[in-house]
């Protein structure tokens, strides 16, 4: 009974973290917070992996004391493979997180906002601008809240070297 309960708790915890994290990534609008949500979802996936290698009444996969001389050991150990995988994925997660934060810094410096929707609109406007197409999204935008940079009407292809 307790073993069942522990299983449910652990699986529930892992799945809960993944779901909370993904819901956060999908619904949040603050880009700094989105990164935090992503970190949480990753933690959930890591926990799921470690649970996959767990066995009851087993010890950690490290040989100590007597076990060192008496190989192969008689004691049951937990699976080392998922643990190695999780080590890898934790470190990967931190690398991606640092890169994402660097991008956040740059995006904030350029657009002065952390709101993903606004950033998205301004980015699309920028792309339209750079490709010479007038914004297609003007009807979707909250009118009057903040004006978009006026798209230039002159030909971008010619104005390239002017700066």
């Amino acid at each position: 009974m307790t073993t069942n309960l522990i299983h449910w708790l652990l699986y529930g915890g892992a799945m809960g973290l993944i779901v909370i994290g993904i819901v956060g990534v999908v619904t949040l609008t603050n880009i700094f917070r989105i990164i935090l949500a992503l970190v949480i979802a990753e933690a959930g996936a890591n926990l799921l992996l470690v649970i996959a290698g767990y066995r009851f009444d087993a010890i950690a996969p490290i040989l100590t004391g007597q076990a060192l001389s008496a190989m192969p050991t008689t004691q049951i150990m937990v699976d080392p493979v998922p643990q190695a995988m999780v080590l890898t994925s934790i470190v990967i997660g931190v690398g991606v997180q640092a890169l994402a934060l660097a991008l956040v810094l740059k995006v904030y410096k350029n657009y002065q906002t952390l709101d993903l929707r606004e950033i998205h609109h301004r980015m699309l406007a920028d792309i339209d601008h750079s490709s010479g197409v007038i914004s297609l999204l003007s009807e979707e935008q909250p009118k009057g809240e903040r004006p978009l940079p006026e798209p230039e009407t002159k030909n971008v292809l010619n104005s390239g070297g002017e700066k």
């Binding site: 993944i18 994290g21 993904i22 990534v25 999908v26 880009i31 989105i34 990164i35 992503l38 979802a41 990753e42 959930g44 996936a45 890591n46 799921l48 992996l49 996959a52 290698g53 493979v81 998922p82 995988m85 890898t88 994925s89 990967i92 690398g95 991606v96 890169l99 994402a100 991008l103 956040v104 740059k106 995006v107 350029n110 657009y111 993903l116 950033i119 998205h120 301004r122 980015m123 699309l124 920028d126 792309i127 750079s130 490709s131 010479g132 197409v133 297609l136 030909n155 971008v156 292809l157 010619n158 390239g160």
Partner: protein, 493 residues
């Protein structure tokens, strides 16, 4: 004999050392990258010549289900050879800013080779992540505000995909207790349940971020239109195919049931519809090509969802065709950056570019003698022969998409060939480099036209080989199953 590992080790080694090399001599920095790529090409081609039947290589000297193995067959070696080839074509030879972009490109090459060769699920995940992070760096390398914002969205969508893929791998591990693809294939019956199938769905959507699969391709138009055309060409042409390769490996080896195929079919159809309709509406070339890339990859997915050799052949043909055509098209946008309306008169300022555009466009639509037609023909016959309601719907979607494709590409072509002011496109003559590369892609396309029969034979051979599930399993596990695993497997089955 084990030197295919160099294809992963060499580029990574060079990338690690590049900062040191560049502080020593700037000119060495510029030559070492292409040199390493040439070496990779040589290793891959050397194997390609020798290989009679698929082989598996145990890395670290540990036998496959325990250690990690590389799987070498015609398909993976073809990709392993195409990676350095494409990189050489799209290498930033005129880059004078520093070593970082070269370093990232080399890391991309190493990761891509690993992804193409690896036969281990978690190893694939690691290389996929490496591929992602390198492409983030390259996508942001333009350093404009829009590029940073687009890359940020790309990172977040990829991060989401990573979590999903990792969850999928964890689920597969709970069901089978192994990570080696061939071993998973051996235990495929364990995966024929809701958990196994949802693991497949999670991995497809997770890895599908790079393959531009329907629900997770929001980054595509933004990144492709903010990154430099060379990087867009690389991401759309090569990297997306590697992600597709992973998906079909998993499909062939572990998920032969119809549900997995249906999932791919539906995702592919949605991709076609969304991509082609958006391309139809887009007003500038870069975004039109990005959206049409989504549509094309949808077609690739639909092709792979056809059961049996026919689907495999059609899929590989579509894949290779897209791999040649789309980079060429992206390279043309360097000079034609701007709204389609303003492309008037482009043909008079550079007839060669206009001719290339026409060639690529016609091939992509599938006009008879061109290679694109034969690829699409394989796909259509495959769909007809599959003869199930869903496949017929897919056929209708495909043909409608082709009509839409023809409409937007041809109306663009009309703009290009119509009369207009010549002065807009003066720059075209000043940057002949990208045009040269695009010409090479065009030449490859034309060369394929004249060698259709041998190509078709080779294609069929590759397709039969790579859709053979038992061959894949036998190849890897013939390296001898460790005794404990053998016992357990016999117990499970």
């Amino acid at each position: 004999m084990n030197n295919i590992a160099f294809n992963v080790a060499l580029p990574l080694l060079t990338a690690f050392l590049l900062p040191i090399i560049s502080s020593g001599s700037k000119s060495a920095t510029r030559f070492v990258g292409p040199f390493v790529l040439l070496a990779m090409l040589w290793f891959a081609l050397a194997y390609f010549n020798v290989l009679q039947h698929p082989v598996a290589i145990a890395l670290g000297g540990f036998l496959p289900p325990l250690g990690i193995s590389f799987h070498l067959d015609n398909l993976s070696l073809l990709m392993a050879a195409l990676i350095p080839l494409m990189m050489l074509l799209l290498w930033p030879y005129n880059n004078r800013e520093g070593f970082r972009e070269e370093s990232l490109l080399l890391l991309l090459a190493g990761a891509a080779s690993g992804l193409a060769l690896s036969g281990d699920l978690f190893n694939i995940y690691v290389f996929y992540e490496l591929l992602s992070v390198a492409s983030f760096g390259l996508a942001a390398a333009n350093r404009t505000a829009a590029a940073f914002a687009a890359t940020f969205r790309y990172v977040i969508i990829s991060g989401l995909g990573t979590v999903l893929a990792l969850t999928g791998i964890a689920l597969i591990y709970t069901q089978t207790g192994t990570l080696n693809l061939a071993h998973i294939g051996l235990l495929a019956s364990q995966l024929n349940n809701p958990v196994g199938l949802s693991a497949f769905a999670l991995i497809v959507i997770g890895i599908g971020v790079k393959a531009e699969i329907f629900p997770v391709n929001g980054w595509v138009p933004e990144v492709y239109s903010t990154a430099s055309p060379r990087i867009s060409a690389l991401l759309a042409g090569l990297i997306s195919k590697l992600a597709v390769l992973v998906i079909i490996r998993l499909l062939v080896v572990a998920y032969q049931g119809s549900q997995a195929l249906t999932l791919l079919l539906v995702l592919g159809m949605l991709g076609i519809i969304w991509g082609e309709l958006s391309a139809w509406h887009s007003k500038d070339l870069k975004r039109m090509f990005s959206f049409s890339s989504i549509g094309q990859l949808g077609m690739v997915l639909v092709a792979f969802s056809i059961p049996g050799d026919a689907g495999m052949a059609a899929g590989i043909a579509m894949m290779l065709h897209h791999l040649v055509v789309k980079p060429g098209m992206f390279l043309l946008t360097e000079n034609w950056n701007g709204p389609i309306k303003k492309l008037k008169g482009a043909a008079t300022s550079s007839p060669l570019a206009a001719f290339l555009f026409m060639l690529f466009a016609l091939s992509m639509i599938g006009v008879p003698p061109l290679p694109g037609f034969w690829a699409k023909l394989l796909l259509v016959t495959g769909l007809v022969e599959a003869n199930a309601p869903l496949y017929i719907i897919a056929l209708v979607v495909l043909l409608t998409a082709t009509v839409i494709e023809a409409h937007y590409l041809m109306s663009t072509a009309l703009k290009i060939f119509s009369r207009g002011k010549k002065k807009h496109f003066k720059k075209l003559l000043q940057t002949p480099f990208n045009l040269t590369i695009a010409t090479i892609f065009g030449a490859v396309l034309l060369a394929a036209l004249f060698t259709l029969t041998p190509l078709g034979n080779k294609l069929n051979q590759i397709a039969t080989e790579s859709s053979d599930r038992s061959l894949y399993i036998k190849t890897t596990l013939s390296l001898k199953l460790p005794p404990q695993v053998k016992q357990q497997v016999s117990k499970v089955q």
